[in-house]
Amino acid sequence: MDRLGRASFPALGTDAVVLSAAPDRLGVALDEVRDEVAAIDRACSRFRDDSDLSRANALAGGPVAVDTLLLDAVEVALRAARLTDGLVDPTVGDAVRVLGYDRDFAGVVRNGPPVARVERVPGWHRIELDRARGTLTVPRGASLDLGATAKALAADRAAVRAAAAAGCGVLVSLGGDLSTAGPAPEAGWRVRVTDWQGSTADAEGQTVRITDGGLATSSTTVRRWQRGGADVHHIVDPTTGGPAQVVWRTVSVAAADCVDANVAATAAIVRGDTAPTWLTSIGLPARLVHADGHVVHVNDWAQDAAA
């Protein structure tokens, strides 16, 4: 069994976990991860009034000079929207807010009165991004939410930085969105895939070994609250402006990086019944847990041990 360095700290409204293949290099890796996560938070958080994203949202309708990091993050979000035919759309900000997710999740009122619903999200194609001038234009009447991509992007960037600085393999987890960089431990990185990232490592699920790339899990069982007695969760279907229909409890996807894994996992939740076919077509290994508990594996994702 490989001996790994391990540390964790609160970040981005969840927990960051850093593993290093060389235990004595953990401190170096950890410093890099902290820096990268803090930078993403300053640029991309919709819960911080002083973030570049909050400024751009507040001044929607006109170009706003923003940090290059936010431009990078928005480009990643636009690519996600294209690859998913708009099912992962950064302009769901208002839809999520109207549903009640209007602050860091720890502060979201868990049981509130009925809410209206945004009938149709403004659409990602209306975002304007000008690299030459360093400006972002959020569509008038819209607000961006980079929740489906920014955390994964942070994990990817942090893992690369940490592995380069530490000179060893590193795994970074931000709220269960995992990215690896550098040589994996001999036995690979052992990951427990389950419904909630705050679970213990023996929670119901599957333990897999990964050697490269990223792995992300999206779930309709977490970040849930109630409005008017009805259950609401955080994954919005842009075509309805409401929470995605709960066909899958949890979808885990592996990809070359965490961004692709997380985008595909989120889109799969929104797609519902057609998710396995779609995941097969895009070639990403995945494990889907149906609302009734049965498990579907796609593209060489190993079968569960008990299956």
């Binding site: 995992l178 960089a181 052992r190 899990t217």
Partner: protein, 108 residues
């Protein structure tokens, strides 16, 4: 004869009027169809990169609709290689045979 000339002139006026209305209608229809097409196929978000900017500093950026050419990653070694497609890992997740993991991946 006079009646014939008058009839011809009236006919010509009618043809000119009909032609004018047809041309105006054509222009209106073209605009209408263009509007419908733009609304139904909105294309891509506008992304302007420095490479798309011509002229010296201070010159207006050339705004070009992004036609699947977004550069999603800087040259720092992370991210996907092909912005047009999802990229799979080199190795699919293999079964560990049970027990706990070094880390948990779950919804958050």
């Amino acid at each position: 004869m006079a009646t014939s000339d008058q009839t011809r002139r009236d006919g010509m006026r009618l043809v000119a009027r009909v032609t004018g209305w047809a041309a105006a209608g054509g222009l209106l229809a073209t605009g209408l169809f263009a509007g419908i097409a733009a609304a139904s196929n909105p294309g891509h978000a506008k992304v302007v990169t420095p490479a798309a900017t011509s002229g010296s500093s201070g010159s207006p950026a050339t705004t070009t609709p992004q036609q699947d050419q977004t550069q999603t990653t800087p040259d720092d070694g992370f991210g996907t290689q092909d912005p047009q497609q999802f990229q799979p890992p080199q190795n699919a997740p293999g079964n560990d045979g049970g027990g706990g993991g070094n880390v948990v991946s779950g919804g958050s």
